[in-house]
């Protein structure tokens, strides 16, 4: 697993859970009967903070909850929604399921990769963009669809994608 610092992190700052984040995770654990149930919501909090789920942060979370770090790593690597590698400031996820594919998502993906000069799973040199495919985003009626961080973009065309990318600063 890569330990290259995420573009979210300035300099060599370590992936330390802030006290605020620790408190949030502790609060969460009060809401569940079992500590293992806290793993997924806590991973979301960590990903919100760092853009991905860094191993060091996962270990701190496991320690905080007094559970096995292996279990946390297992969960984080099972779900594709968790980024196990650093991503760009803008992480583009393009749907690859049937409705989007029929409406040209594959060509759009090629276009984006060419435009940004990166492949799936890579981060652009300036740390700004990364791209991945994703399973159904649940918006087949407006295929093809992609997400940039938490925002949906629908009924995409190459021109529309160019505009979106240009607007991201």
């Amino acid at each position: 697993m890569s330990t290259t610092p995420s573009p979210h992190v300035v300099g060599d700052k370590e992936y330390k859970l802030s006290q605020q984040l620790k408190d949030k995770i502790t609060d969460l654990s009060a809401q569940y009967p079992e500590k293992n149930s806290v793993i997924i919501p806590a991973l979301h909090l960590i990903q919100d903070e760092f853009g991905w789920v860094p191993p060091a942060a996962m270990r701190q979370m496991a320690q905080l909850l007094n559970i096995a770090s292996n279990t946390v790593f297992g969960v984080a690597s099972f779900y594709t929604m968790f980024n196990n590698k650093p991503v760009g400031r803008y992480h583009i996820q393009i749907c690859r399921n049937i409705a989007c594919s029929l409406n040209g998502s594959k060509e759009l993906l090629e276009h984006i990769m060419k435009k940004l000069g990166i492949q799936i799973g890579e981060v652009s040199n300036d740390g700004k963009f990364s791209v991945s495919t994703v399973e159904c985003l649940g918006a087949c009626g407006s295929a093809p669809v992609m997400m940039v961080n938490d925002v949906y973009y629908e009924n995409l065309t190459e021109k529309k994608v160019d505009q979106i990318i240009k607007s991201l600063e």
């Binding site: 697993m1 996962m58 320690q63 770090s69 292996n70 790593f73 297992g74």
Partner: protein, 573 residues
């Protein structure tokens, strides 16, 4: 009870039980791979599918509850075809280098391929890759041979509560791994080897010391001595076709001599020695305000477990070395001096029911002047391999006795092999140490048994001694949580790493179920019942060893040779 119909025959079933349980009871065989006795069903591997009338799809026998009047077909054409297809898929990425595999001849997967009558390769091959992980001192992982049944992960997490390994990724990318793709040697693994026992293929095995022992036996400059743990004589039999629980002690001694070992010693002797030291330590702690409850230290998986998960309780663990290490230490001190053989010329082998013993023998504190006390550790399974390697016809051997000065044992040392045995032996001698009298009834039934947490109270003069016994680290964790939370009434706790104790250890013959564990343990208690000397302090060889060499329990020499210390281990780093 209710009735179900299997293959047109009525059989009995209990409400709520799974189809597989009812089938097993009725003696109807259905293959399984991911199934584990005493754990909830996983339903992962699908090889146990059966046909149920009225159900569109085949169902897994392991995870489908029985229903009144259910009609089941276990070997219909559809079932057989499906099972075969499932197995073919498993085989399609399996590296079938069976000739060179550690499980050659004893592989569940290969046996299943035979049972399913696989004779052709109908699917394209896409053999799994993966580097062999040799980072652990006890266990070797060969990921390419893994079929993802998940048994190792479940035993580790659900029975031992260690979580050293986990299924990472998913779907076609899934693999059994460790966080950050670390090696087993850098993981939380406590080396118990329960994963090795349940693995159906060669993906997990003990780190073999067979070659090392073979080389030592062939080296004329080496004086090769062997010790065998209390449980070995009642489990080795299974490897050579004897009924489960047969005691082959004297045949095993003969086999050692036939292979060229120079001396054959019995670890049950040093178990007696452990009792002398540990019993005295307990009395000392009780009288001088030492840390209580005292906990046993014989089981090296448990010792690492405490060091990792309960570092604040390491002072509660007895400072006594395990019987293996006590024997190792006196072989390379007392014995070496007496026989005038340099410690570095002695090659000390131990036969253990255990993979963690390999780790223990390698602990840096286990030796003196750069010479380790135990040079090689073979599991029961490896001993069988060695015996076969030397072409010994085990069944035709004539019984022989172990050697002086460490060959004589009492039955107190022998019962160390079952959960509760150390406690029982310690109570027998501890009672004598304090009162000067023998216990009226030497059999202490409340501490016997293979399951759960057992507690007992024994009156010793004015003190009511409160003891607890358990095995399996999930149980140990429950007890430790109580102690950590402030439970104060216990004086002495025995913990064995493997559920049931050494007779069910990670180095024992595979394919044993709970019934076999019971038979193995029963064999030890039968020995205990039938022999005359049942208390460690009456072992003539032990008395002599203290007279001629050690002085007294907890004395200066004991302190140097027979006691040790522990370290707190960091997790989460």
């Amino acid at each position: 009870m209710m009735q179900i119909e299997v293959n047109n025959k009525k059989i009995q079933a209990e409400p709520g039980e799974m189809i597989l349980t009812a089938l097993k009871r009725a003696g109807i065989h259905v293959p399984t791979l991911c199934y584990l006795e005493k754990l909830p069903p996983a339903g992962r591997c699908r090889i146990c599918v059966v046909e149920v009338e009225g159900r569109k799809d085949l169902v897994t026998a392991c995870s489908t509850p029985v229903q009144e009047n259910m009609k089941i077909k276990t070997h219909s054409p559809r079932v057989l075809n499906t099972r075969k297809k499932i197995l073919e898929l498993l085989l399609s990425n399996h590296p079938d280098d069976c000739l060179y595999c550690v499980r050659n001849g004893q592989c569940d997967l290969r046996q299943l391929a035979d049972e399913m009558y696989i004779r052709t390769r109908d699917l394209p091959r896409n053999v799994k890759k993966g580097e062999i992980d040799t980072s652990s001192l006890s266990i070797v992982r060969e990921p390419s041979k893994c079929i993802l049944c998940g048994r190792c992960v479940r035993v580790c997490a659900e029975i031992q509560t260690v979580n050293a390994i986990e299924i990472m990724q998913r779907g076609s990318l899934a693999y059994v791994g460790i966080e950050d793709d670390k090696g087993m040697g850098e993981s939380w693994c406590i080396n118990c080897g329960q994963c090795v026992v349940v693995c159906p293929t060669g993906a997990l095995a003990e780190k073999s010391h067979v070659e090392m022992v073979k080389d030592a036996l062939g080296d004329p400059k080496k004086y090769v001595v062997v010790q065998h743990a209390p449980s070995i004589s009642v489990t080795l039999a299974e490897e050579f076709g004897f009924p489960v629980g047969t005691d082959v002690d004297c045949l095993m001694v003969a086999a050692f001599r036939a292979m060229g070992f120079d001396r054959v010693f019995d670890t049950s002797f040093s178990a007696d020695l452990t009792i002398m030291e540990e019993g005295s330590e307990l009395v000392h702690r009780l009288l001088h305000g030492g840390k209580l409850p005292m906990m046993t230290s014989c089981s090296p998986g448990w010792v690492k477990f405490v060091e990792q998960f309960y570092p604040e309780l390491t002072e509660n663990v007895s400072t006594c070395k395990s019987p293996q290490q006590m024997m190792g230490a006196i072989i390379k001190s007392f014995f070496s001096e007496r026989e005038n053989i340099k410690p570095e010329d002695i090659f000390s082998v131990s036969i253990m029911p255990c993979t963690a013993k390999k780790f223990e023998a390698n602990r840096p504190e286990m030796g003196r002047n750069g010479v380790s006390d135990v040079d090689a550790v073979l599991t029961t399974r490896e001993l069988a391999e060695l015996i076969r390697l030397y072409g010994i016809d085990f069944k035709s051997l004539k019984p022989e006795e172990a050697d002086d000065p460490f060959g004589q044992r009492t039955t107190a040392g022998k019962i160390f092999g079952a959960s509760g045995g150390v406690m029982e032996a310690a109570l027998r001698s501890g009672y004598f140490l304090v009162t000067g009298k023998e216990l009226e009834d030497l059999s202490i039934e409340p501490v016997r048994g293979l399951e759960g947490i057992r507690e007992a109270k024994i009156k010793v003069n004015d003190l009511e001694l409160h003891v607890a016994v358990t095995s399996g680290l999930g149980n140990a964790r429950k007890l430790m949580d109580q102690v950590r939370a402030g439970r104060k009434d216990l004086h002495f706790i025995e913990i064995m790493t493997c559920p049931g104790g050494c007779i069910a250890g990670g180095g024992q013959p595979r394919n044993a179920d709970f019934e076999k564990f019971k038979a193995r343990a029963q064999s030890l208690y039968t020995i205990d019942k039938n022999e005359e000397i049942r208390v460690s302090h009456k072992n003539p060889s032990i008395i002599r060893l203290y007279d001629e060499f050690l002085g007294k329990p907890l004395g200066e020499k004991s302190h140097k040779l027979l006691h040790t210390h522990y370290k707190k281990r960091e997790l989460y780093n």
